[in-house]
Amino acid sequence: MPDQSHVGRSYKALGQVVDQQHVAAFAAAIAGDDTPFAAGTVPPTFAAVYCVFPTMGQLFADAEVGLDMAHLVHGEQHFEWPHLVCVGDVVDANCTIVSVEQKRSLTYVGIDVEAVRSADGATVCRGYSLMVIRGGG
């Protein structure tokens, strides 16, 4: 069960490769054959793949924090993409727990995420995720 003592805990996923095939599979999962965008164009929310899940997946598996995945829902998401990410880029991603709040039977966990291109240090994604655990975990 997450609590205040977990604020500041962070998780790194270095060397995430923005892979052509993976981008294509992701783009197809969103828009199917209906996409008007050229092959190789990276959908912005592909950040889920190179930034959110590789880092937050470690948080989800962190037994010391003990997030109840069966009762976890995504409450809110903010993304910014200051620099464009391209197929072939390698990025280093991290996430940090920035808040834990209990309100009634809900627990809110705020998490900052960021991904930086290894080659030039450009920030390709920064964001904030609010996760909600129903039933107090």
Partner: protein
């Protein structure tokens, strides 16, 4: 594709509606492509066992469709500089997501257009609320083919 002429965009302009029916097979494809295999998205029995009406779409899949709606209007994924929303109601397989948006600011100084967005389901639930996007007026270094 025909891109919106971003230089003529005015406050109050509406983004065209994007309507997309989300099926379980699309949710399964998104689970595979994103790596998020939480059983609440892919296993109906498990989803019901934790108090949900059945499987629900990933919030980030809904947000990906919202991003697509913005990108279609703006002329490409590379134009999308920022996107935010609240996941207010779950979307179940078979439901339709209807994404709408309106220009609320044209920031010439920073070369950004700001939109307010929302997405409702075919059954009238407000699925994505507090939606906001920033769109680049120009892409100096597209970095991606096929704007």
């Amino acid at each position: 594709m025909i891109a919106m002429d971003l230089l003529t965009v005015k406050v109050g302009d509406e983004m065209p509606l994007l309507e997309r029916r989300v099926t379980q097979s699309q949710i399964d494809a998104y689970a595979n492509a994103s790596g998020d295999h939480n059983p609440i998205h892919v296993d109906p029995d498990f989803a019901r066992s934790v108090g949900l009406p059945g499987t629900i779409a990933h919030g980030l899949l809904e947000m990906a469709i919202l991003a697509e709606a913005v990108a279609r209007w703006a002329g490409g994924y590379a134009r999308v500089q920022g996107l935010a929303c609240r996941f207010s109601k779950p979307l179940q397989p078979g439901d339709t997501l209807l994404c709408t948006g309106r220009v609320v600011d044209v920031d010439a100084m920073n070369q950004l257009i700001h939109l307010k967005l929302e997405a409702i389901s075919g059954r009238g639930d407000r699925v994505l609320t507090n939606g906001r996007a920033s769109v680049r007026l120009s892409v100096d270094n597209p970095g991606q083919p096929g704007l």
